[in-house]
């Protein structure tokens, strides 16, 4: 528990969208709506085959990995098994679990692959995740004080968050969180901070804990008791391999997820922005609050297509295999409206995140780099800042 509650100071920097008129924002919204409708209408057999194939690959890898680890005494089996299991867990959580739980595949009407029936290889139950992630994070993306994903209530990730002495150790907190990310999310989904400030009742917490325990004991038994026991004399090695696979998955997903909203160029927002926010303004916030990762097709699959974080935040329920094809069009829209489309390689973006975390461990840090503000050639009306008063463009 943080010793002092998290508070925010008012924003001092202008938004990168400050130059857009209300009409331009609505026009941008209409363009994005059209892209969404076009893709959703074209979903078909090829998409269904894609997700079935990914699921079959994931299950095959998991069975192969666990099979190899029955012989974990032999180093090649240990290494190959651990790797296969790591990849299987990453696919399960990212390209499959995260996206199925978003309802991206509900259109197939397949009870086997549906957001209401899916459960994933993760300590947090799907139901708890859907609430904090699908609803809170995706609705209130990067709104300070509303999006609890901003620093996950343990870190200072944006300069507007007031500094607390505990933030001094946040570079270490980050490394620790990376290793146990799965558990971090599980604790976070229990919303202890909301119990503390009274917005979540003790009874609700108790109920959540019960659901969690029912899942947790099975998750733990499988990785640290049953499969190790099945490998007989190799018990400890198999348990170690399973732990390693879980940690590899944790480090990987932590890196990908932190690169989604925290690198330079991404923006955070004031809470009062939400009041009367239009669909177009919502789209703008999603675009400015997210950042993409560049890489190969396999890399995109391994990130659960969160490498297309911007596209994902615009259309959270669009099947992830379609993000790559709309990405150039989204980038073109961003260029045309003078909005930042942040993208970079994983090492580069993660480096920026770590730099920010280190800088913000100390007070201040208000001049976060990267938020480029480009003026549009033609201004048809007064530009608006987030609080509604006209502003001049920042240079």
């Amino acid at each position: 528990m943080p010793p002092t509650p998290i508070t925010f100071s008012p924003q001092t920097r202008p938004s990168a969208a400050a130059h857009l008129t209300a009409e331009q924002v609505e026009q941008l919204g209409a363009e994005l709506d059209a892209i969404r409708a076009e893709v959703m209408d074209s979903l078909g057999e090829a998409d269904a085959r894609y997700i079935h194939k990914i699921i079959a690959i994931q299950r095959g890898l998991e069975m192969a990995g666990r099979g190899a680890l029955l012989f974990s005494r032999f180093p090649p089996a240990f290494v190959a098994g651990t790797l296969a299991l790591s990849v299987a867990k990453i696919l399960d959580n990212m390209e499959i679990g995260h996206n199925v739980l978003h309802g991206q595949w509900d259109w197939m009407r397949d009870p086997r692959i549906h957001s209401t029936t899916w459960e994933w290889d993760h300590t947090t139950p799907a139901e708890a995740w859907k609430k904090t992630h699908n609803y809170e994070h995706h609705t209130f993306t990067n709104v300070r004080g509303k999006d609890r994903d901003l620093g996950y209530s343990v870190m200072r990730i944006t300069p507007e968050q007031d500094w607390r002495p505990v933030d001094l150790i946040q570079p270490l907190t980050n490394v620790g969180l990376s290793l146990i990310f799965e558990w971090g999310i599980t604790l976070y989904d229990l919303e202890f901070d909301r119990v503390q400030d009274g917005t979540k009742s003790k009874e609700e917490l108790k109920k959540d804990l019960k659901v969690l325990w029912r899942k947790l004991r099975r998750q733990l038994a499988k990785d640290y008791l049953l499969f190790p026991a099945l490998s007989g004399p190799n018990f400890l090695r198999t348990a170690l391999a399973n732990l390693t696979a879980n940690v590899i998955r944790n480090v990987w997903s932590h890196a990908v997820i932190f690169c989604g909203h925290f690198p330079d160029g991404t923006e955070t927002f004031e809470e009062d922005r939400l009041e009367g926010e239009t669909k177009g303004e919502w789209y703008v916030r999603q675009m400015l609050g997210s950042a993409n990762l560049t890489g190969s097709p396999v890399f995109h699959i391994m990130t659960g297509n969160l490498s297309h974080q911007i596209e994902h935040h615009l259309f959270p329920d669009m099947p992830s295999n379609r993000y790559a094809e709309i990405a150039p069009r989204i980038r073109e829209i961003c260029d045309r409206y003078g909005l930042t489309y942040t993208a970079g390689s994983l090492p580069k973006q993660y480096g920026k995140v770590v730099r920010t975390i280190c800088r913000l461990a100390f007070p201040g840090g208000g001049t976060k780099k990267g938020a480029q503000v480009t003026a549009l050639p033609a201004q048809t009306g007064p530009a608006r800042s987030t609080d509604g008063t006209p502003v001049r463009l920042a240079g």
Binding site: L43, E45, A48, R59, D106, M108, R112, T117, Q219, L230
Partner: protein
């Protein structure tokens, strides 16, 4: 079943700890869809063209598929453009047959019936639901039987006749009156004529293109002792409605057994539509006048229990939490919270909440 079943259940329970968070059935289904008990599949092992628009599909379900009773139907699921679509078809094979047969007539503009009748090759995998329906013969089978069928209404009766002829040599106590436009339209024509010759079944073919529709009056001409027979009838709504009326007036309504094939059309008066919210899934959708709640929910991505989709099987029922619904066929209003509502034949009467 008892001991083996409980051992099997325990084995699945133990295996579930190893397959967490999946069920063992998920993995079996990935390896071979036919092995899944939760989502049973069947493979198409034979395709027989019956008429220009009607095809019999011979299906081989997985080992866990329950045996049907002659006259029952099964749900058939087909993936079209990535989306699972379900329809209900009578089983035309006898319960003892190795393969299960369904006979599908392609309806004009019917995407699912068209795909099943014309574009489903041998080797295709379909999903299959459990057999259901109470359009079946009692035990012991009554001696004097009358079957009244029209068009594809012959399908459940074909299943019954195949079953009866497999069990006894003589069907001399049974009469089948079948209506179709022309002799070429009768789906099982040659087989029925052969069956009549072999078993003594009285087969009366009525070709409506020449003779006009079967009416209760003409029935008396062709089957004078109709009132003394237990009758099973299946065909278009208009025919079944006329028969119901006739039996109520001049016969014993208890002796008439009906199977309605088409989902009842939205004929009720005063249909308003409204917004339907499914409380378990949290999905809400606008259901226009005449749109079943199920169709509205599915279009919005809800996963709803479903079966026959025509108000017969009660697989789709959900509790009414608030608001009111109207039966699209009869117009009956249901507005008591807690009452069970069949979502496939109910439309919204204003805003409504269903516990599904």
């Amino acid at each position: 079943m008892g001991v083996l079943g409980s051992i099997g259940q325990r084995a699945r329970h133990v295996a579930g700890w190893f397959t967490q968070p999946l069920l063992p059935d998920d993995l079996l289904g990935t390896l071979n869809p036919l092995w899944s008990r939760v989502e049973p599949h069947a493979r198409v092992v034979g395709v027989r063209r019956e008429t220009a628009d009607t095809t019999t599909l011979l299906l081989r379900p997985g080992p866990a598929h329950p045996v049907h009773v002659a006259g029952q139907f099964v749900g058939i699921g087909l993936r079209i453009d990535g989306v699972w679509q379900w329809r209900t078809y009578s089983v035309t094979s006898a319960p003892g047959d190795r393969d299960l047969a369904v006979t599908v007539t392609a309806l004009p503009g019917g995407t699912v019936s068209g795909a099943l009748a014309h574009r489903t090759p041998v080797g295709a995998l379909l999903r299959i639901g459990p057999p259901a329906g109470d359009f079946v013969l009692p035990t012991p089978v009554p001696e004097k039987l009358l079957f009244l069928t029209a068009g594809s209404g012959i399908t459940p009766v074909m299943g019954m006749l195949r079953d009866l002829s497999a069990r006894s040599e003589s069907l001399s106590g049974a009469v089948l009156v079948h209506c179709d436009r022309t002799p070429a339209d009768l789906v099982f024509g040659p087989e029925l004529r052969a069956l009549a010759a072999e078993t003594g079944l009285t087969l009366i073919e009525r070709h409506t293109a020449v003779e006009g529709r079967l009416t209760p009056e003409t029935l008396t001409d062709v089957v004078p002792d109709w009132a003394a027979r237990q009758t099973w009838a299946c065909g278009p709504t208009a025919m079944l409605d006329a028969l119901t009326e006739h039996w109520a007036r001049a016969g014993d309504p208890e002796a008439l057994h009906l199977e309605r094939f088409v989902p009842p059309a939205a004929v009720a008066e005063g249909l308003t539509g409204g917004r339907v919210s499914f409380t378990t899934s949290g999905i809400a959708a606008d259901a226009g006048p005449g749109t079943p709640l199920m169709a509205a929910g599915e279009a919005a991505g809800a996963l709803l229990p479903n079966g026959c989709r025509m108000g017969i099987c009660h697989t789709c029922v959900g509790k009414l939490r608030s608001g009111a619904v109207r039966n699209l066929h009869t117009g009956d209003l249901t507005d008591t919270p807690g009452q069970a509502v069949r979502t496939c034949v109910s439309g919204a009467a204003g805003d409504v909440e269903i516990e599904l």
